[in-house]
């Protein structure tokens, strides 16, 4: 069979050149439009370029520092959003990721503390008595990932086997994990990590970790059985079950991966901030979901992609940095941020609808 003809088995005329544009393209256009608006406003109001002004400080046409912070500030929530994207594609939702970040950061950081600060015994040492200080960096990493694995696994077991709505399962985990975070040290922050732990989230490392994971999961979602089944479950769970997919086991896997990704974010976050706090990660779940939705995912499940989520994260980053750049009052920032989130999605919808869909 000629490759050209291999797309179908006859019938209607089919015009290859007019294939529908991938949905991600629309999101990308939204991103560029938002950047353009900030550039324009920059010239009008600030007399300065948003991205292309090197402020005389760097030898590049870009304001590299701004480019870096745009992505750096969303990299950690972005890591969470990778897991959340998978959960949403199954038709579920994960409200617990922010709390898992809090609990994991607290627990992992406790195993990454130094014995002495400025020559005094570490005043915040959680396991000073037990002597668990100055441990090799692998210990907090493994402990942290295990936390995420357990929390995500519980989510998955609840959703997969008890059939309760994911909203409730993960809401329960959200409340419980936040409780664990506060209980761990009775609300005290955990600080003074070892140098090797601090190195994890230093500089642009969070961005690198985010992008590597994004590429990995892009490939996984697209080219592996895992990805295919994730989409199938979200598209029609009954059909997936009747087709012989082990839906329950698969859901456990998806939620567990989401939990582990939240744990990765927690480790990077606490390392970057050199501290862990029980309030860390509050509302991250909403930001992560918003990134995914801006990236074109459907909360009904079955549709969406990692690429979209990454672009959604960038839109977030641009908005945050753009506001600071324009010196917008904090009050107006929030009001306008809400409008921009909505606007980005309206734009996306509008463009998608022009390629009119069947009702």
């Amino acid at each position: 069979m000629a490759d050209q003809a291999a797309h179908g088995v006859g019938g209607l005329k089919y015009d290859h050149s007019k294939r529908q544009r991938p949905a991600e393209l629309n999101v990308l256009i939204a991103l560029f439009l938002i950047v353009a608006v900030f550039e324009l406003l920059g010239f009008l109001i600030m007399d300065q370029s948003f991205l292309f002004d090197s402020a005389g400080r760097f030898d590049s046409i870009f304001n590299e520092q701004r480019l870096q912070i745009i992505i750096l500030q969303v990299a950690i929530v972005g890591i969470i959003a990778l897991g959340v994207t998978q959960v949403i594609i199954t038709g579920g939702i994960d409200l617990s990721s922010g709390s898992i970040v809090g609990a994991t950061a607290m627990i992992a950081m406790s195993f990454a503390q130094v014995a002495e600060v400025n020559g005094f015994p570490n005043p915040k040492g959680v396991f000073m008595e037990q002597g668990w200080v100055d441990l090799p960096v692998i210990v907090p990493i493994v402990v942290g990932l295990l936390c995420g694995l357990v929390a995500g696994g519980i989510n998955g077991l609840l959703v997969g086997y008890t059939k309760i709505p994911p909203f409730i399962a993960t809401l329960g985990m959200m409340v419980s994990a936040r409780g664990v975070a506060k209980w761990w040290t009775e609300g005290q922050p955990v600080s003074f990590p070892t140098e090797s732990y601090a190195a994890i989230g230093a500089g642009m490392n969070p961005v690198i970790i985010f992008l590597v994971l994004a590429i990995l999961f892009h490939l996984v979602m697209r080219y592996t059985v895992y990805g295919k089944h994730t989409y199938a479950i979200g598209s029609n769970e009954a059909a997936a079950r009747m087709s012989g997919i082990n839906v329950q086991r698969h859901l456990v896997l998806v939620y567990t991966i989401a939990g582990v990704l939240a744990a990765v974010a927690a480790i990077v976050l606490s390392s970057k901030n050199l501290t862990a706090q029980s309030g860390m990660g509050v509302m991250y779940e909403l930001d992560a979901i918003a990134m995914a939705v801006i990236g074109g995912i459907s909360l009904q499940g079955g549709r969406g992609s990692i690429v979209g989520t990454v672009i959604g994260a960038l839109i977030f980053g641009v908005i945050i940095s753009g506001f600071t750049f324009l010196r917008l009052d904090a009050f107006y920032q929030e009001m306008v941020k809400g409008a921009i989130i909505v606007g980005a999605v309206v734009l996306d919808q509008y463009r998608q609808r022009k390629a009119a869909a069947r009702a």
């Binding site: 797309h7 179908g8 088995v9 019938g11 996984v220 295919k228």
Partner: protein, 277 residues
């Protein structure tokens, strides 16, 4: 008594008894109530290896309900099922399929957002690098080629199989579901109104597929409202009425008029007289 008949209550039921292992599927007293709706009552059913049996009956007579109980989609209210010589109690359709039952459900069971090859191979993808476990790599090319072959057997025309199922016409969807079943060998095939949405040509092709199954000796349960089709294809016709089996007819011993009489309630086989009361 055949070895699969291990009913303990000694309750006498009308049945043919067959030699050891010849029966591929048997149900005894299969019953399903939905709340107050008695959708299936005391169904005793049997199909032998290589046999093609049709189930007919009014809308809402309980035909699809019967299929859902056999394939483990739902848990039956009571009754016993033997498949391939063993007492079975499928927890879900996954188990039924592993045991060797392939089904085209009336609802089709397709994933709306996936394309045709994805749907055809759903749950048994062709893969490479299988040591990667759940993360093994999909062999898209092989699946697409096999898909085109399978679709050609059904005679359906689909301009672009990369299109998602939700954008397919009613008949195209049905053909995808049939192609999926026909692609894999099984011990028993069940088709619930497979040609309902099909055009003239496609129906003819699907009937050919069914004839091929017959030639290969694979047993089939066919649910259909199409009298001509049933008379053409099967060996035996079982009639459901109001949730009960009311007739079990060899094709040679009956005709369309007769079957309609059983469906409408004008006639009931003496053996099932109490059931139809």
């Amino acid at each position: 008594m055949s070895d699969v008949d291990i009913s303990q209550d000694g309750h006498a039921r009308p049945r043919d008894t067959h030699a050891l292992g010849e029966v591929i599927l048997r149900t005894e007293g299969l019953t399903k109530h939905y709340g107050g709706v008695h959708a299936l009552e005391e169904a005793d059913f049997e199909i032998r290896r290589g046999e093609h049996v049709a189930i007919m009956g009014d809308n809402g007579a309980g035909k699809s309900t019967f299929v859902r109980q056999i394939t483990g989609v739902e848990q039956r209210t009571r009754g016993k099922i033997w498949f391939d010589g063993a007492y079975v109690d499928f927890e879900g359709p996954l188990h039924a399929r592993h045991a060797g039952i392939e089904t085209v459900f009336q609802t089709l069971a397709l994933a709306d957002h996936l394309d045709v090859p994805d749907n055809l191979f759903l749950g048994r993808e062709k893969t490479k690098w299988n040591w990667l476990g759940p993360f093994r790599i999909l062999d898209y090319r092989a699946m697409r080629e096999d898909t085109l072959k399978a679709l050609q057997k059904t005679g359906v025309k689909i301009p672009n199989v990369r299109n998602t199922i939700q954008n397919m016409s009613g008949g195209q969807r049905q053909c995808v579901a049939i192609a999926r079943t026909a692609t894999f060998h099984s011990k028993l095939t069940i088709m619930d109104e497979p040609t309902a949405a099909l055009g003239v040509q496609e129906t003819a092709q699907v009937e050919n597929i069914i004839r091929t199954l017959k030639d290969q000796g694979e047993p089939l349960i066919l649910i259909s409202h199409n009298m001509r089709q049933v008379m053409d294809l099967v060996d035996r016709i079982v009639v459901f009425r109001r949730g009960r089996i009311v007739a079990n007819l060899r094709k040679e011993e009956t005709d369309g008029q007769d079957v309609v009489a059983y469906i409408t309630g004008a006639k009931t086989q003496p053996a099932y007289a109490d059931a139809a009361a």
